[in-house]
Amino acid sequence: MLLIQIFILAFVAFALWRTVGRFRAGELKRSALALWLLFWLALATVTVLPQSASWFATFVGVGRGVDAAVYLAIIILYYLMFRIFLRLEKIDHDITLVVREMGLKESGKSGSEREENSSR
């Protein structure tokens, strides 16, 4: 076995351990757990049996196994980027809602004080 294979396998083991840990802590939904397990196990399979990537490549119609892996990686990265974008948009809007609520509350307070003063 090549050194790089051992490195990748060690990393996959670490990632699996973290994924399961996060699921146990309730930070990961069951569907997300399944997807991540599938992803890491697929990576382990390809690492141990490089020819399986070639098999997959022929199956989907791309020439070489490495090419298929690169295409797949790009798709996954774009998808994750999109998820992060949505997340940021949501957090951004949530901050707005908090800032708005604070502003409206404060203006309600100071406004009624001023009205009391002016009615005196």
């Binding site: 999109f82 974008f85 949505l86 951004d92 809007h93 901050i95 707005t96 800032v99 708005r100 604070m102 502003g103 409206l104 404060e106 203006s107 406004g111």
Partner: protein
């Protein structure tokens, strides 16, 4: 009719006081939303007699409009006018915008700088046209000045209005809402006042590009 003006303001201490004072003959109340300014915008607005809501952090035009409209509705507004704080609008136009709403002929009136053919600088006109075209392609509603900050809403429209965009995209989002709720739209020609100051305050080219990008992503992905 209880007409309340909503003025979103970010670092506009030089102009906001004058804008508020110019509005008072035409509206019952003025709500200024100080969107996290670092200067004396809030104090100037208060001194001029406006009701001021302060955003502790700068959240953008859409966020400020949403806050102002919520406050105006709470204050019992029957019609709401949105008005820029940089002094590019003429308060004398307010009555012409609220008239069709008061008469029950429209749910929303947009002040159009294009219909008044005179004074829009060429660069502005080109940028405006691109904004209009993009808004039309994405949301299927043509408005001659989709990026105008001078608008009037009926109470019902203001209650139905749902603002999700915090920044400059809000102008196009409002156009989207016209179509979504089937509001009756009137476009009213207005006189823009282009000073060096108000020119420096609008969307520059880069911000415009960013706005366009965000609108595209929103339309495709959400």
């Amino acid at each position: 009719m209880m007409v309340i003006a909503v003025v979103p303001a970010y670092n506009e201490e030089r102009t906001v006081g004058g804008v508020v004072r110019s509005l008072f003959p035409h509206v019952r109340e003025v709500v200024v939303v100080d969107d996290g300014s670092q200067d004396g915008t809030a104090d100037e607005a208060r001194a001029a007699g406006a009701r001021v809501v302060v955003h502790r952090l700068n959240r953008g035009l859409g966020a400020a409009l949403g806050t102002g409209i919520t406050e105006a509705l709470r204050r019992g507004a029957e019609a709401i006018v949105t008005f820029d704080a940089d002094g590019q609008h003429d308060a004398a136009d307010v009555k012409r915008l609220t008239a069709p709403i008061e008469a029950g002929e429209a749910d929303i009136a947009i002040g159009s700088r294009i219909l008044e053919r005179r004074s829009m600088p060429v660069s502005r006109r080109a940028a405006n046209w691109i904004g209009n075209a993009l808004t039309f392609v994405l949301f299927g509603q043509w408005v001659s000045d989709s990026q105008s900050g001078l608008r009037a809403f009926s109470r019902r429209a203001a209650e139905e209005l749902e603002i999700k965009c915090d920044r400059m995209e809000v102008s196009s989002e409002i156009v989207k809402e016209i179509r979504r709720h089937g509001w009756r739209l009137t476009e009213v020609p207005i006189k823009p006042v282009y000073t060096d100051y108000s020119m420096s305050k609008g969307q520059g080219f880069l911000v415009g590009l960013k706005t366009a990008g965000k609108l595209l992503i929103r339309r495709i992905m959400m």
